[in-house]
């Protein structure tokens, strides 16, 4: 009797395993059902040159808006960027992390450069004129408001702290709330890289 049950149990377990592996990957971030094209923009990179988002097509782009005087939320997010880049290892060249300032008044290209490079040399800091920056923010639904503070830093900038993921075909695929573990973002990136490799 025991011998008769064994193959049934094994068969059942195998079926379950196969079914589980058929399940489509569940993205960790908030995903767009029908990914829209990510609005193109051109801004000044921290080294003084100009950079267009469309020049990065073929790479996965993570986009974050912040400011260098920020002591908490921005360094926490850039710390996550660093972890992701390091963990991607030899695949890290397929990812670009852009940090767009919401505080062009204080964030000169040089200051921005020193700041982002401190986390990882491949992170790109971007600034521009007030008009250029506000147009990018509008395209991505980013709020940014300068708020005077009774503090040594004078003022802070309240801002949207989500990370946006743009895929290799410049489609806005996913967003991540502040506080998302880096492992979640990393796993999504690896999945998209896998999809890209499967297509080619």
């Amino acid at each position: 009797m025991k011998d008769a049950i064994r193959p049934i149990v094994f068969g059942g377990m195998l079926m379950l395993f196969l079914l589980a592996s058929c399940q489509p990957y569940q993205f960790k971030g908030t995903f767009y059902e029908d990914p829209p094209e990510a609005a193109d923009f051109e801004l000044t990179s921290a080294d003084g040159g100009r950079l267009r988002l469309s020049e990065l097509e073929g790479k996965i782009v993570l986009l974050f808006f912040g400011f260098t005087s920020c002591p908490d939320v921005c360094p926490a997010t850039l710390g996550i960027a660093k972890r992701i880049i390091e963990e991607l290892g030899d695949k890290s060249g397929r990812l670009a992390f852009l940090f767009i300032t919401v505080d062009p008044e204080r964030d000169t290209p040089e200051k921005l450069n020193t700041y982002v490079q401190n986390f990882h040399e491949s992170i790109i800091g971007l600034t521009g004129s007030e008009e250029e920056l506000s147009s990018v923010r509008e395209d991505y639904g980013i709020c940014a408001a300068k708020v005077p503070l009774k503090s040594g830093i004078g003022y802070t900038v309240d801002h949207t702290a989500r990370v946006y993921l743009i895929d290799n075909e410049r489609r806005l695929r996913l967003t991540y709330a502040f506080g998302t573990p880096y492992e979640d973002i990393l796993q999504d990136i690896k999945q998209i890289l896998k999809e890209i490799d499967a297509e080619n």
Partner: protein, 146 residues
């Protein structure tokens, strides 16, 4: 005579014992303190920790000081429903009796305004926290990656 002194001593001991149990007041300890490495010379920093109060009385964090920066301010980051983060100075953080308050990324933190020198992993920062009842507590804070 001898008996009398024994009785007297016992009375005194009893009276003394009757004076306790009195309120022990707040018992503040700082745990798991760490500072984020900074990203440049004239940049700002942040310190995080947990404040435990094992006493039976609430205490209040009034402020902070450090020789490593122009100022050490108690701030709180907050997110609204749309994911917009804001940061506000906070005053008088209450640490309830038997409770704890956590300072963590994206929440309460000590903001180090205008660091005198960059903070690298392994560095130490001296932080003085000033409480209403416990007075000043001096803490050595290690700089480390989150």
């Amino acid at each position: 005579m001898w008996k009398k002194s024994i009785v007297l001593s016992l009375v005194v001991i009893l009276l003394l014992a009757g004076c306790t149990p009195r309120a022990k007041g707040p018992e503040i300890t700082i745990q798991d303190a760490w500072a984020r490495p900074s990203a440049g010379a004239d940049m700002n920093g942040a310190i995080y920790f947990r404040i435990m109060n094992d006493g039976d009385e609430t205490d209040t964090l009034l402020g902070a000081e450090t020789p490593s920066a122009q100022a050490a301010e108690v701030h709180e980051s907050m997110a609204d429903d749309n994911g917009v983060m804001s940061m506000k100075p906070r005053e008088n953080i209450e640490i309830p009796a038997g409770g704890e308050v956590e300072f963590k990324p994206g929440g309460l933190h000590i903001m180090l305004v205008d660091l005198k020198k960059p903070l690298a992993v392994g560095d130490e920062v001296t932080l003085t926290l000033r409480f209403e009842k416990a007075g000043e507590i001096v803490q050595t804070v290690k700089v480390r990656e989150p």
